[in-house]
Amino acid sequence: MSFLELQNINKTFNGVKANSQINLKIEKGEIHALLGENGAGKSTLMKMIFGLYKPDAGGKIIFKGSELKNHSPSKASKLGIGMVHQHFMLINPLTVLENIILGIEPKKWFFFIDIESARNKIKKIIDTYHFNIDIDSRIDQISVGMGQRVEIIKTLYRDAELIILDEPTAVLTPLEIEDFYKIVLNLKREGKTILIITHKLHEIKKLADRCSIIRKGEYITTVDVAKTSEEELATLMVGRNVSLKLKLPPKDFGDYFFSIEKASALNNKNLLALNELNLKMKRGEIYGIAGVDGNGQNELVEGLIGLRHFFNGKILLNGKDITHFSPLEKYAEKISLIPSDRKKWGLVLDYNIEENLFLRNIDDAPFSHKGIIYFEALRTKAVELIKRFDIRPNDSKAEVKGLSGGNQQKVIIAREVMNEPELLIMFQPTRGLDVGAIEYVYSELLNLRAQNKSILLISYDLDEVIKLSDRIGVIFEGKIIKEFKRAEIDQDLLIKEKIGLSMAGSMN
């Protein structure tokens, strides 16, 4: 009997199938890795094991021989399942100890927390697993690596036997990662069963006994890690279906007109996100940046658009140093951006189509004069753009809130293209769009390329990047570590595997 068994697990969100007929068996005492690209459905699966989501009808989760019914996180905890989320569930002003015991605090004289007994139990855990942690320090004073250890201790304090780790090393520094590996091996030694979600191949090789691969919501296979190479794992992760329905017409490119030289920036947690990144673009090309989420893409885009500070390095456009230009100044230099989160950064949902179309250039003629808006001019241009980009409904006064994702994206594209940009940055341009809208965005991209506009395409969907790019740069830990040219991409049958390897950090 397996320790944990998943039978016929399906999960659908709003008509989109996140998990499809997954069957999985986890054995007691093993370290089992779950490998897959972004959006493959790994997190969703884990959340169902932990009780945060319910599987669709017909799916069963069997833990230690009994089926999990009416599952919830607190039930999962009681049964011995613990989860360390990718985004920590910690309370900043409280100490490590307080965070660990939150929810199951031991009591003394009915009113007070029995700090002593908590301290003793935690100390035992720390000694057994050789954690190096001061349990009286506040969460907002400890490092991210420490924070993760706290999350792990939380599961051990609740006597977890199965511990799920969701992308645990995504936020750790290399040194912290080494410590983390030691901890995981210790956990195994003490008889714990570990489920680790990761996209890092060397990590799987280092830690896991077996590895199951999920691709686009489906279970592919389970392999014995010792007998499988990184290349084989990469192949399984990305699959062999590189669809080349789109063919990039050959073209002569101009000179290098845009360059990023040794750009460095910090992320919101004051950790290094961009590490002397170098990138050069030719006029008229589509340069695609491939990489797994969290390797600096957000920070790069924010920096390029003027919302994040580069503490080192230079951005040059046609020889001009625009490194520290404001968003408005960058717009004037003809840099446009299609942001990844259109609802947060791209659109004012309560405004209508017209108002969103002219959000950036409302001050320019003919849309206004000395501060007074000329609504006729807005409407005329809006009608033209709506027609050109086929935005539906074709009512310029329609509230953007009510538009479909695809049409919302069209509004943003129309707005940015109106600027006749020299450099158009597209960040996750097809996120959340249906097939039709995706095809539309791709055709628009090719149009722009044909008009000799330059496009920097950043996407977590490798297929997309491969389809559209003249050149591909793989970003890993804040640097472009390898570039692939179009000719190479077209000719090499194994190109996806090669790129996949680079995305996972392999330097070959």
């Binding site: 659109l347 959000l359 950036r360 808006i373």
Partner: protein, 363 residues
């Protein structure tokens, strides 16, 4: 749907009032009848309602202006006070012909109150201090500062707790001379309606209030400035992303918001009180402005209408006390209930949407 849910909130407010009255053994129908008569049965009453709507409309505009930029201006009270005291300073100390004096008073009052609001805007933009708490602090500072100035030798009227009166050239009262002149009194003898209507201290303030409402409407809906303000209020991030200087917009918004409340204070002095007294506590115009803005669903036209509505409610509500000897404070309870229901407007809107769309499906 939005106006429907506002009306439902108003209706529910009256229901709550009725329940409270009923539970207190007071005939609520009588009470509401007294209110209705107390508002509409005499021209004099209507005149008072219009007159008292002026400050409410302005503080309502003030709050709504800030609100459209995503900010809560609880400081309308203090900005009102600053406008009032400034109007006394300029109105009393300067001597100018009325066509210069009135604009000067207004401009300086609005400027001073605008600065007062702008302080909150500045420290929010620069230091991240939330405007709710900073404007509350500034309210009190304004109150005591005004009291200090009232009692200072500079402005103080001996043997009173008030300032000197403003010069007649700064007054906005209408028909004062007419009302007191021979020919005037003769005319009014024969025209009951007009005599009654002119009984209260009618003044030109209401026109300034209406003009302000129009200006606010114009700024918010017809200018690029208003466009950017609203964008900042709706989605701070998208606005920032689109190159709008969102911090500057917050400052500008609170500046203008402050100046509107300040205008309210100035008009009150220039039209009605002609001076400022030492205040033991706030007169409530600012807080009522929040009610006006909410009931007017944050639109300039709504602010005008709900300014009149609130003025009417408060004025006619007083009659309950005098006529029925029942507590007029039921009005405050009703206003509170209305605001509470407006607070869940989103929920009401949703329920209404569901209700009406299911009706459509039945058809």
């Amino acid at each position: 749907m939005k106006s429907l849910s506002i009306f439902i909130s108003l209706f529910l407010g009256f229901v709550v009032g009725a329940v409270v009255l009923y539970a207190s053994n007071i005939n609520f129908l009588e009470a509401y009848k007294v209110m209705f008569m107390g508002a509409f049965s005499k021209p004099q009453y209507l005149s008072y309602i219009i007159l008292r709507a002026t400050p409410l409309i302005l503080t309502g505009l003030s709050v709504l202006f800030a609100f459209r930029t995503g900010l809560f201006n609880i400081g309308a009270e203090g900005q009102f006070v600053i406008g009032a005291i400034t109007s006394v300073i300029i109105g009393y100390k300067l001597t100018l012909p009325f066509y210069l004096h009135i604009p000067t008073v207004i401009i300086f009052s609005m400027l001073a109150a605008g600065i007062w609001g702008g302080i909150a805007g500045f420290i929010k933009a620069k230091y991240g201090v939330h405007e709710v708490i900073s404007t509350i602090m500034l309210n009190w500072i304004a109150l005591y500062f005004s009291n200090y100035l009232v009692m200072s030798d500079f402005l103080h009227r001996p043997d009173t707790e008030t300032t000197e009166f403003i010069q007649p050239s700064a007054s906005l009262s209408l028909f004062e001379n007419f009302k007191n002149s021979e020919s005037g009194m003769l005319f009014l003898e024969q025209h009951d309606f007009i005599r009654d209507f002119l009984r209260p201290p009618v003044n030109a303030g209401i026109f300034f209030a209406l003009i302000s409402a129009f200006v606010v409407y114009f700024i918010l809906n017809k200018t690029t400035f208003g466009f950017k303000l609203k964008a900042t209020g709706f989605n701070f991030f998208a606005a920032m992303h689109a190159g709008i200087n969102t911090n500057l917009k917050m400052f500008q918004s609170l500046f203008i918001s402050g100046s509107l409340s300040g205008l309210g204070g100035a008009l009150h002095v220039m039209g009605v009180s002609k001076n400022v007294a030492v205040l033991a506590q706030f007169e409530g115009y600012g807080f009522d402005g929040i009610a006006v803005s909410l009931i007017g669903s944050n639109s300039p036209l709504g602010a005008v209408l709900s300014g009149f509505f609130l003025s009417g409610l408060k004025y006619s509500g007083q009659k309950i006390q005098s006529v029925l000897e029942a507590p007029s404070e039921v009005i405050s309870i009703m206003i509170g209930a209305i605001i509470l229901f407006i607070g869940i407007q989103k929920l009401l809107d949703e329920k209404l949407e569901k209700f009406f769309s299911s009706k459509k499906m039945d058809q």
